[in-house]
């Protein structure tokens, strides 16, 4: 009887764990990132903030941690964006962590070449 209870508890705990839905991200092109993914997961916000100041105020473009570079590699091949669904690179993780993301109210969420094509279509 005790064994059955222990087993039941074990499976209950296991299935409860399986309920936590870790985001399955579509990382786009992927490959070798500018830093270790674990480090990037923790620090990308600070890196981007530092880079933006250098870019806007000093005019140094194409930096190692530029947002444009993130988007160029990590836009999904399906919808050509880092936003859109909960599988997309930026949106997926930010929804999971419940952190509001406001970069893309101003910045383009598509890679450079395709964003140009889109804007030409609207003309």
């Amino acid at each position: 009887m005790r064994l059955i209870l222990a087993l039941a508890l074990f499976f209950a705990a296991f299935s409860a764990h399986a309920d936590v839905t870790i985001p399955h991200l579509d990382i786009g092109q992927g490959g070798h990132c500018v830093n270790d993914p674990k480090f990037m997961r923790m620090n990308h916000g600070d890196l981007l903030k530092h880079q933006r100041t250098i870019t806007v105020h000093q005019g140094i473009r194409g930096g190692r941690y530029s947002l444009e570079r993130c988007v160029n590699c990590h836009a999904s091949k399906k919808n050509n964006s880092v936003l859109g669904t909960n599988q997309n690179f930026c949106q997926g993780c930010h929804v999971y962590a419940a952190v509001k993301i406001d970069c893309f109210e101003c910045h383009s969420s598509r890679p450079e070449s395709t964003a140009e094509l889109e804007s030409d279509k609207h003309e």
């Binding site: 005019g59 988007v71 109210e105 910045h107 140009e116």
Partner: protein, 244 residues
């Protein structure tokens, strides 16, 4: 100017003429003079970007510069009171003589910008090379700068935007104005409006470095009579107008 100073200037003039002479073949040079600074190097305070606008060449009814600006920066192109306009074409008529003048009006890129003075967050700033910009990360949309600008050069973004250009991020709730095509300048190119004006055959907009005595713009400003709009305000603008 002292004799020593003028000797120095002549020397600089001669040596740069020498550099320009290092031509391997037509259109091919040892030094690429027009090229931008190397990647990773910040904007330099030795440079001051500016423009000379020849109003005698600016054609009334032509808005190629405005169209090029809209395309380059992803602006919608409306001219209503709440639409973003970085360049406006202005028609002037002298009431006494009837003389008509057409000219483009935009941010004058002041050396002493009032918009920077009044900004409560430090979002409105002047880059070391003289370009006056808004850091939208810091802008809270209070619009003090719009009130302070004597040239009505700034616009406020009222509506949410989509599909912005990757090089020109813009968004609701922030103020914006002519950036002197800073994304192009950083690549070593000229502004979109100057390029379009030349393509249209008018060549009314000359863009260049005001600090370099040998640049085309500096030479022209030395030769012809040009004025700066509302020079009485002492803002030391980077834009010069010829024929006004």
């Amino acid at each position: 100017m002292s004799d020593m100073d003028s000797d120095r200037r002549q020397f600089i003039g001669r040596s740069s003429a020498l550099v320009a002479g290092l031509t391997l073949a037509p259109g091919m040079m040892l030094y690429d003079l027009a090229h931008g600074r190397p990647v990773g190097e910040p904007a330099s305070s030795k440079v001051r970007w500016g423009m000379l606008i020849d109003t005698t060449k600016c054609e009334s009814g032509c808005d190629e510069c405005v169209k090029a600006c809209n395309k380059e920066n992803g602006l919608p192109g409306g001219t209503g009171p709440t639409d973003e306009q970085w360049i406006r074409k202005v028609q002037l008529t002298d009431l006494k003589t009837g003389k008509k003048t057409s000219l483009p009006m935009m941010c004058q890129h002041c050396a002493e910008p009032p918009c920077v003075d009044v900004c409560p967050t430090g979002a409105s700033f002047k880059r070391v090379d003289g370009i006056v910009l808004v850091d939208r990360h810091l802008c809270i949309g209070c619009r003090y700068c719009m009130m302070a600008c004597p040239y009505k050069a700034r616009s406020f973004v009222h509506e949410p935007l989509h599909d912005q250009k990757p090089d020109v991020p813009r968004g609701k709730g922030t103020v914006e104005s002519c950036t002197l095509c800073v994304q192009r300048v950083d690549r070593g190119e000229t502004t979109a409006c100057a390029e379009a004006c030349e393509k249209a055959g008018h060549k009314a907009i000359l863009f260049g470095d005001l600090n370099d005595p040998d640049s085309e713009i500096s030479k022209r400003i030395r030769q012809v009579a040009s004025i700066r709009l509302r020079d009485d305000l002492g803002l030391d603008t980077g834009l010069h107008y010829e024929g006004l």
